[in-house]
Amino acid sequence: MNILVVGLSHKTAPVEIREKISFSEKVLPDALHKLRQYPLVREGAILSTCNRVEVYSVVRDIEEGIAQVKKFFTDFHDSVNPKDIQPHLYVYSAEEAVKHIFRVASSLDSMVVGEPQILGQLKDAFEYSLSSEATGVVLNRLFKKAISVGKLIRTETGIAESAVSVSYAAVELSKKIFEHLEDKTVMLVGAGEMSELAARHLKNNGVRNVVVSTRTYQRALKLAKEFSGKPIKFEDFPNEMVHTDIVICSTGAPHYLIRYDMVEHIIHQRKNKPVFFIDISVPRNIDPEINKIDNIYLYDIDDLQSVVDANKKEREKEAEKAEEIINSEVVTFSNWFKTLEVVPTIVALKEKMEEIKKAEIERTVSKLKNITEEEKKSIESMATAIVNKIIHTPLIALKQETNSEDGALFIEAVRKLFNLDKQLPHHEHKKKDRG
């Protein structure tokens, strides 16, 4: 019995390949059903996002299992030539597979480390597979664990903190200047993709008032409607700046639109209430000297990019911490997985019974005072007989069921019913120590 991942991602395959073999929500139940038809596949789950397509499975034999899951890929997408897919597929098994899903859940394998979507996508994939009854004891546990590891890493490390896009960096900086954005006003001077994106992020983060000023009033009207803001004529924007806390400038003008003396005048009128200027235009539209004025903060496109770079470096550092957490979680999971094998379970069960038997005999014998050696022996043999009779049928059932669909379930049940995992080191609790 083994855990297997076969799939491809943005790291191994271009989008043309990924889109060809992806599984849409519509076909997922059918795909999961078909996956289970392969004789070696005991459990299955499919994760299909725009960046990765992966089939998780529990197989009876590694070599054969890999071949069958790969065959599933090409069988299901029969319009695709197997030769086109094969070179892009990666395969992880056993501990490597566990590590892989933990890394995926933690976004360490994502295009942008720390991105939040993958965790939700993994949850959805799990729920689909669960409701299609494709998963079993092993994958259920694996996915639940992966989701909790993903959450743990996001809270325990900083991989998901700090902005990694220019437009979001603008929001982050605004929050370091203003704290609350709810009562702030943002003004767009000129418009472009990036400044609109920044304005949208700011709105999502609480900014209520948006003022739009573009060279053509028509455009301003349209944009203002989009942001439910206020359009103003282009020549009015310098006066409007007095009431503006964040100015995002992005025009095609070849010269400084916002000059030092203008800003000096504004800050005086504003009684020193800070203004955050963001200059996305190239060539720049805001005189860089204004950064020297008290309570004025100016960031141009390069400055924002350097913030993003610093944040990315920070995330990479945090990713190292995340890898450490993953490694220890992989060990925990592997330990549990090992207990699912039938032989150690039988041995453990027998040992436990033997232990109980011995203890009880000792107790009884010590209470009986004038006991002969013969009597003692017959007590012992009675105890042995009782124990053997009781565990006889469970052991037979265990041996038989191991090779059935629900084998792992039986083993898990026996371990729980007889409390056989007590002796194993309890890794579950280690999680707390790390905090």
Binding site: L173, K176, I177, F178, R270, N272, N295, V307, N311
Partner: protein, 313 residues
């Protein structure tokens, strides 16, 4: 042998006047049994526990400022709170042991001042959840307390002049006001650092740990307003007491003069803030300068000019 821990007589007779006596230092390497030879009042024991916890809290908070490790701030806050509890106990017990409000000697006053700083910090921490504040305020309280650890701290007979309720109220108000000024000082310092980070585009751990400029300016302002009110009331009660003790409300003693200067500076500043919007860096510089002047008036002036208005008499 009666338990010397509780005996005021033994305590007064022997020279357990210091937070750390030479003998106690030796104790660190010697036998703990020796503690029984030298009686230690419960309040001093608690004071030591507080000092120790402040030290740990300060170290944790400083570590938190430069580390990305999560959870340090919580442990630090817990430690500082425990220190504060011990400190509060120490002050209350000392009050019971001495029979007066323990703010009559330099040691007692600084101890109370540190207590007030931590109190201010805990209140703000509760309201604003800015862990970086602790990285400045807790070390400040610790340094203040540690700097007078070798000063005499015996419980003594108060001269009749000092046995007045006005004196207690005056000192408490002034020290609470001073603690608020300490908060404004720290907020101002943090403001200047964060302002520089933002202007220079310096995106480092310190930048991430420090809160927004808005919060820092708000803290600075509120602390100054609170401090100003307490300080004003402190001056008023002080002059009432002066009337009782010296027969005059105001005698232009160096300490009084300095206090008046500080009061005028803060008054002028608050006026400028309301009318001209003096905020941000200007406010930060003022709160730093103001606090230095307060500390100088409080402790330093006695070393330079002779004044009757001191704690060591």
């Amino acid at each position: 042998m009666q338990c010397p821990l509780f005996s005021l007589d033994t305590y007064k007779a022997k020279n357990v006047n210091y937070l750390f006596t030479p003998l106690e230092v030796r104790l660190l390497t010697g036998f703990t049994i020796k503690i029984m030879d030298k009686p230690m009042l419960i309040n001093i024991l608690f004071l030591r526990i507080a000092l120790f916890l402040y030290f740990i809290g300060a170290a944790l908070y400083l570590w938190n400022l430069v580390s990305n490790k999560k959870g340090i701030a919580n442990v630090a806050l817990l430690t500082a709170s425990a220190g504060f509890a011990a400190h509060t106990a120490a002050i209350i017990i000392r009050m019971a042991e001495a029979g007066y409000i323990p703010i009559t000697s330099l040691h007692e006053a600084i101890s109370f001042f540190s207590w007030a700083i931590i109190l201010t910090f805990l209140i703000t921490a509760f309201r604003y959840r800015v862990s970086a504040l602790g990285s400045f305020l807790v070390p400040l309280a610790f340094i203040l307390m540690a700097s007078v650890a070798i000063r005499p701290m015996a419980i003594r007979e108060l001269p009749p002049m000092l046995q007045s309720a006005w004196l207690g109220i005056h000192t408490i108000l002034i020290l609470l006001g001073g603690a608020a000024f300490a908060l404004s000082f720290v907020a101002g310092l943090m403001y200047l650092i964060q302002d520089r980070n933002l202007k220079a585009k310096k995106i480092d751990t310190l930048y991430r740990k420090l809160p927004s400029l808005d919060i820092l300016d708000e803290l600075n302002h509120k602390a100054i307003v609170f401090g100003y009110i307490l300080f004003t009331l402190g001056i008023i009660t002080g002059s009432i007491w002066a009337e009782y003790a010296w027969g005059t409300y105001w005698s232009w003693d160096p300490k009084q003069t300095m206090s008046a200067v500080i009061w005028f500076i803060y008054t002028a500043f608050l006026h400028a803030r309301f009318t001209y919007g003096w905020r941000g860096r200007k406010a930060a510089y003022l709160s730093i300068g103001g606090f230095i002047a307060v500390i100088f008036t409080f402790a330093g002036i006695n070393l330079i000019i002779k004044t009757i208005h001191n704690f060591t008499s």
